[in-house]
């Protein structure tokens, strides 16, 4: 019994030490610019399961644990927005049982978010679900809408979860919204005036304003795990000047060091990016 309490205190001590070390590393990083927004493509869950001889579903669960760690690190570092590519419209092409499993997992985790002891409550996270939510299973959509309502007043940290999302779909949706905006009843004078300005009917700012991702500034870093280097129809518009980082590790294996490394590289490229972004039209 004495051993247990010593063991318990020891692991608590090591845990505290780890937290202290992390704080120290983050304060060193904070000497330079900290990214405001980091986006993650959570790739490699299934390969992780295969590698460790787990059931495929357990790979996704391990991925969720890794996600919680990453969110905590980002929050402590001072990152304000995190976006994750949870489920693409293309992923509906997977086997129905896998799609079903992931929908079920999402439902479970969204419900979990709303509980008292969840990270959402303790960190004051505002959650958004972005994408063509009509494509989701109804139970998941309802849970997502509830989560968005319940967390609407949180301000410390914003988590954007892309589900049933592709950039292509987002752009088409934005175009439709632009037309809806313009299709207000007009009198004859306004119609003539608008015809003269027909070339200005849709501008860059209109498109951007109507994107799902207009809720957040453009990401500073895009992390895609498992060594794949492609965007897979994720945030194509928003990552024009984003630093792209693709560590070889599978998503459930992602660690603090990956985050630190990506921030260091972001800081290295920062002066150039700042100059470019300021002169954009």
């Amino acid at each position: 019994m004495g051993d247990d309490s010593i063991g318990g205190r020891l692991s608590e001590f090591i845990g505290n030490l780890g937290g202290f070390l992390r704080k120290f590393i983050f304060s060193v990083l904070s000497v330079g610019p900290i990214p405001n927004h980091i986006a993650f493509i959570l790739d490699g869950n299934r390969r992780y399961a295969k590698k460790h001889n787990l059931k495929e579903g357990d790979g996704h669960r391990a991925g969720f644990v890794a996600l919680l760690s990453m969110l905590k690190y980002c929050y402590e570092l001072g990152v304000k927005y995190v976006t994750i590519y949870a489920f693409s419209i293309d992923n509906f092409n997977r086997r129905p049982d896998e799609v079903q499993y992931i929908m079920g997992l999402m439902h479970e985790k969204i419900e979990g978010m709303l509980k008292e002891e969840s990270f959402v409550r303790s960190y004051g996270v505002r959650v958004h679900f972005l994408g063509d939510l009509k494509l989701l299973h109804q139970s998941v959509r309802i849970a997502a809408e509830k989560a968005m309502r319940v967390t609407a007043n949180n301000t410390k940290f914003v988590l954007l979860i892309c589900v049933a999302y592709t950039s292509t779909n987002e752009t088409v949706h934005s175009v439709h919204q632009c037309f809806k905006e313009k299709r207000r009843p007009m009198d004859k004078f306004q119609e003539e005036e608008q015809q003269q300005q027909q070339q200005g009917l849709i501008k860059l700012v209109d498109l951007e304003r109507n994107m799902y991702m207009a809720l957040a500034p453009d990401p500073d870093i895009l992390v895609r795990t498992s060594g794949e280097t492609r965007l897979s129809n994720f945030l194509l518009w928003q990552t024009a000047f984003c630093y792209l980082y693709s560590p070889a590790k599978l998503w459930p294996e992602i660690s603090l060091w990956n985050l630190v490394w990506s921030v260091l590289n972001f800081q290295r490229a920062y002066p150039y990016l700042l100059k470019t972004k300021m002169k954009r039209y």
Binding site: R46, S88, I89, D90, N91, N93, R94, R95, E98, T166, S167, T168, N169, T171, V172, V175, H176, C178, F179, K180, R183, Q195, Q198, Q199, L201, I202, K203, L204, L207, G227, E228, T229, R230, L231, S232, N233, L236, W237, T239, A240, F241, C242, Y243, L244, Y245, S246, P247, A248, N265, A269, K275, T276, K279, R280, Y281
Partner: protein, 322 residues
């Protein structure tokens, strides 16, 4: 992941079993010697390149006098591909961000203009390789919309370089059956260049061997916005209703509509920078991205073959499963 090349096993001489006739392989290669001289510089900064660069003269069977063409006008001879590359796994459309000319010149103590001229030579070499190996489309990011903020001297030099380049190579494009298209906001280009581009596009319109698309004053955002403006114009004229607008409709209005293969299979960015820099945003949705450490003027056949080998090994799932 800073450079895929480090993940590949070094290519040794046993993979290059063929004899070479190097001088006739590469057309328009005025300063071949100059580029080879740069290899010692390269190995100084990136020692691993020595293993690859040692086989500086890549060896192939030379059959250019007996080129057989398929119906599509693409060379059918198998022997001209480097060993290990399969024709069916070659990309159809390659896109390149040609980054690093300024750094290349600085490292050699040369003026910036030399860097850009070396870049043009590297481009000509890549075009020849693509043409030879049956790659159908090559899109290059020559000048971005954001580059207009560069010093006027440099911008004027680049505009002059484009004009000279097109004038000098137009006859070769015709002979080699290369089609040239220019995408981007041409309204900011000098009038003489605009006129030359229009002429060149018209003259080479029916060529089918290789389609070279040069992005000048181009921005991926601008491309999508101008597509939406065109669509708005069509809606105004009653040709289409807003509800009819789909991804395909937008696709057909993008500037890459000049080719039947608007989506690059492969994007290469040189000089180690890890970003897309507002190039072909929509079209890159499923493109395999390769970031290589070489500066653009140093990007040659060896590096290109490495990238193609790596591309061959990638699994493209498009969101589904194997």
């Amino acid at each position: 992941m800073l450079s895929l090349q480090f993940l590949l096993s070094p290519i040794d001489n046993s993979l290059w079993p063929y004899k070479s006739k190097p001088s006739s392989l590469i057309l328009h290669h005025r300063s071949h010697r100059c580029r080879n001289d740069s290899r010692p510089f390269l190995s100084m900064f990136l020692p691993k390149y020595r293993a690859l660069g040692a086989t500086a003269d890549l060896n192939y069977e030379q059959e250019d006098s007996n080129v057989r063409l398929t119906e599509a006008g693409v060379p059918a001879e198998e022997g001209l591909l480097p060993s290990g590359l399969r024709r069916e796994s070659l990309p159809r459309h390659v896109a390149v961000v040609m980054d690093g000319n300024a750094r290349w010149a600085k490292r050699r103590g040369l003026p910036l203009s030399s860097g850009h001229e070396a870049g043009v030579r590297a481009l000509r070499e890549l075009m020849e390789l693509c043409r030879k190996w049956g790659i159908r489309v090559l899109t290059v990011f020559a000048f971005s919309y954001e580059n207009w903020i560069r010093p006027k001297v440099e911008v004027d030099f680049l505009m002059g370089l484009f004009e000279r380049g097109i004038k000098e190579d137009l006859k070769n494009f015709v002979r080699e059956e290369i089609q040239i298209s220019v995408i981007g906001d041409s309204s900011k280009l000098p009038k003489s260049l605009q006129k030359l581009i229009a002429e060149a596009e018209e003259i080479t319109r029916n060529n089918t061997r290789l389609h070279l698309i040069v992005a000048v004053s181009y921005s991926g955002h601008y491309d999508i916005v101008q597509a939406c403006k065109n669509i708005a114009h069509k809606v105004q004229e009653g040709l289409i209703t807003p509800d009819d607008i789909t991804a395909d409709v937008i696709e057909q209005e993008l500037e890459t509509r000049c080719t039947e293969f608007p989506h690059p299979d492969l994007l290469i960015r040189t000089s180690g920078e890890l970003r897309v820099s507002n190039f072909l945003l929509w079209q890159l949705a499923y493109t395999e991205l390769f970031f290589v450490q070489s500066l653009w003027p140093d990007f040659g056949e060896t590096e290109f073959v490495d990238v193609l080998h790596s591309f061959q090994q990638r699994q493209r799932r498009y969101g589904g499963r194997d």
